[in-house]
Symmetry: C2
DNA sequence: TGATTTCATGAACGTTGTTCAGTAATCTGG
DNA sequence: CCAGATTACTGAACAACGTTCATGAAATCA
């Protein structure tokens, strides 16, 4: 009988409604300043209802992040799919990574700029699932670097350490601009370009 | 009469006692997990007493950060004072910057990895004073790069944009390692070295 | 000594995330 | 169509948080 399915569908709908409301609030006001009560008020349910769908606040934001990082992977895949020269692909991927952070500051900060200690009692499962997503993007960086190396655009070496270094540097550009604590940066687009120039010149 | 002085001295002592206790706790447990009540308990005073010396929790941590960044400047000056070849000086400064973050994770995260939105009602004065400290360190980077350029170790160009890029990349290494959310990094010392290699090669 | 300034406090307020007993609605088997 | 079981949801409550403020104690000043 279809009643089961309708019920689970309704449940999924509410789940999505919670995620959407929370997403909008997190983006607008930042993780710290969004309370479970505010989210509940927005969807016109009692705060305790949220806990029927998510273990806690961290689990809630973790699920949002998973969605966001899936989008990042899509963006990267779309670049890789264009089969440009490997060095060009690498540059576009790094640029897209930075852009992703700028487009989703709340999620980027949550995943990469918040120490694990801030969620002392974080659930291991949700932590792992978010980490898994980030891993997916990192794997793409690894193969992109490998391709550059095989094409001779980058001198041969340890791909893993090179990938980690490259990520650290790109993460610096991203987080530095995302956090943006009032430092008088030069024009953003130019700063990103010159920083990526620096990275790519260092690689080759 | 010396009573005035004794009183202000006692006041300063308590202020320092608060700062020391708060410092220890912030380092151990991170900003979020340290409550004013915990700090008060540690120094055996009532929580409200802290507010006689600091406007609020943000003001408290801001004052701690100022102390930490003064130390960073000292470290950098000690390197610059050795008058090594400019490129060597630059490398040591960047390395020291990373080390500073690793030595003071709580402060580094607070200043560079926490969005301004997290302190919506931050006092403008304490914000400025912390920012001013960070500016001091940045100025040292600027002149160090300038020296490299004048020595011909770096092709001539816009020092300001180069300094900003260099800071972003170095910040990436620092924050990536400081946050450390369980990513399986390779051996830390080697990763730092290779990342700095990348930066310096990109510069020259 | 009496008046004043300084220092410190405990109780209170309004939040926060989270839990849980209890209610209302819905579905199921007879 | 009705009793019973399952599900969905809620409101009140808890402990902890940052912060404020009237009150009291203690030291200083006149």
């Amino acid at each position: 009988m279809g009643t089961q399915e309708r019920r689970t569908r309704a449940k999924d709908q509410l789940r999505k409604k919670i995620l959407d409301a929370a997403t909008a609030l997190f983006v607008d006001e930042g993780y710290e300043h969004v309370s479970m009560r505010k989210i509940a008020e927005r969807i016109e349910y009692a705060p305790s209802t949220i806990y029927l769908h998510f273990r806690d606040k961290v689990d809630l934001v973790a699920n949002i992040c998973i969605g966001a990082f899936t989008e990042l992977d899509r963006r990267l895949d779309s670049i890789i799919g264009r089969r440009l020269p490997p060095m060009e692909t690498l540059r576009l991927c790094l640029r897209q990574y930075v852009q992703f952070g700028l487009d989703h500051p709340a999620y980027y900060i949550f995943v990469f700029c918040t120490p694990a200690s801030a969620f002392k009692d974080i659930d291991a499962a949700s932590f792992e699932s978010v980490n898994g997503c980030a891993m997916g993007s990192f794997q793409r960086l690894r193969t992109s670097l490998q391709a550059c190396m095989e094409a001779g655009a980058i001198p041969p070496g340890d791909v893993e350490s090179l990938a980690q270094s490259t990520w650290l540097l790109t993460h610096g550009v991203t987080s530095g601009l995302v956090i943006d604590n009032g430092f008088p940066f030069i024009e953003r687009e130019r700063l990103i370009d010159e920083s990526l120039d620096l990275i790519l010149r260092g690689l080759s």
